[in-house]
Amino acid sequence: MSKITIPFGPQHPALKEPENFMLVLEGEQITSAGINLGYNHRGMEKAAEERTYLQDLYLIERVCGICSHSHTTCYITNVEELAKCETPKRALAIRTLIGELERVHSHLLWLGVAGYEMGFETLFMYTWRDREQVLDCLELLSGNRVHYSINTIGGVRRDITAEQKTEVKKRINYLMERTNYYIKLATEEPTVLARTQKVGKLPLDVAIERGAVGPTARASGLARDVRKDEPYLIYNELDFKVITHNTCDVFGRLVVRALELVESYKMIHQVIDNLPEGPIAVKVPMKIAPGEAVNHYEAPRGEDIHYLKSNGTDKPERLKVRAPTLANLQSVAYMMEGGWLADVPLVIAAIDPCMSCTDRAAVWDAKKGKTEVYSWEEMRKMGIEHYKRRGVDFSKL
């Protein structure tokens, strides 16, 4: 049979964001898939160099509208590390609370989008209705529905009152009930099972090889979660499980996200019940001493990495963001190959792609005209040396 190539995107009803996949088809089956990025490239990293640290906070928030808190928290941890400021415990707890609320909103949103791609529109309407409860919580706590802007350099902007606590708990209890229903639906409903099982396979070894992160990796049985592996904020004090599943398909990703919702509700209750007393912010000078910092954060979609270099002024020298979707895109190409054309939207949706996160980074050529290729050993050596300077020894690994 002759092969044909069809473009999928940048404007496609199944895609909420611009991205382009070139699918090579043999009949209904996909033989290979190529990914084109850059439709969403705005040049934010360059823009960040021209603004002050505080202005950048609001720019970084708009890297992505769904995981805005993840990006700002990761960025601000870097800034605070460079400024050597002691962030109050209460502020860290509030950041954790908002972070988990954000995960709930993002996973519910994903559940709806996945339902929509399956052709199960009732699920889409249900989850989006319930998602309003989380948005109400976020609005109550921060004043905004989408870009919460709760973070500020040195702490958080707003404190949490007793009434707010009861209100949030009430809504979370309602969501808990609804989520139990969704878990039942995801694991028993014949339509869902038929559409998701054995679709978009990503075996464990491929997931490791292609560097999958977040729920995509966890659905392939890879227990990789920054919250557990290298706890930040107050995650080391919270009691939660890392959810994994071993079916390695879209069904696994569905189950992982649904069960992660339950873990998030548990964490929200824990944070609210044990909110430490004290101030919510400390003052940080405008100018920040020269230095470099790297931090990672478990965003709803996976590991988000921020690198920040300061030069002693009130503006950063360089900012680099590695969003989770960029790490997962390699896996998508693998998942689509050998699959059916009709499953493509679902497979793409299954990693919960976020192109606005990814595309600021895709078109960055570090050294134009002079390409340097490092071998694996050299890269490893550089990494070990870098961490040695920071006081961590990885040479035994």
């Binding site: 940048p10 964001e17 490239h41 705005r42």
Partner: protein
Amino acid sequence: MKIIDKLITWSLLKSPWILHFNSGACNGCDIEIVDALTPKYDVERFGIVLKATPRHADILVVSGPVTRQQAKRLKTIYEQMPEPKFVMAVGACGCSGGVFNGCYGVIPGVHQTLPVSVYIPGCPVRPEAIIDGVVKLIQSVEGKK
């Protein structure tokens, strides 16, 4: 006015079909647009339906500051829409570039690429504002009729 034009305007006012296009937005406005279509705000009860192809759409809802990559695609999509057609610029980015004003990958504001009928400010816009924008657009078309 010919009878066919009257019919087209009447159907546009009764049930405006929209096409959502993300031209490099941060997703904030996009999820609020979808929010406006889902149960809490539910604009579908007024006949506003989200369509998948530009050939079916009356109103093009553009979110985002129009990246250089997306500008020519945005134009193509606008050209594919049948007359009468309207453009709604959603969010501070769509109105003026917003926080991305000055970024090298951006042509700030939808108006630099397409003629815009309604601007809806806000970062991100609230679903109530989107509904208000659609109502204002319908009223202005009604006024012209």
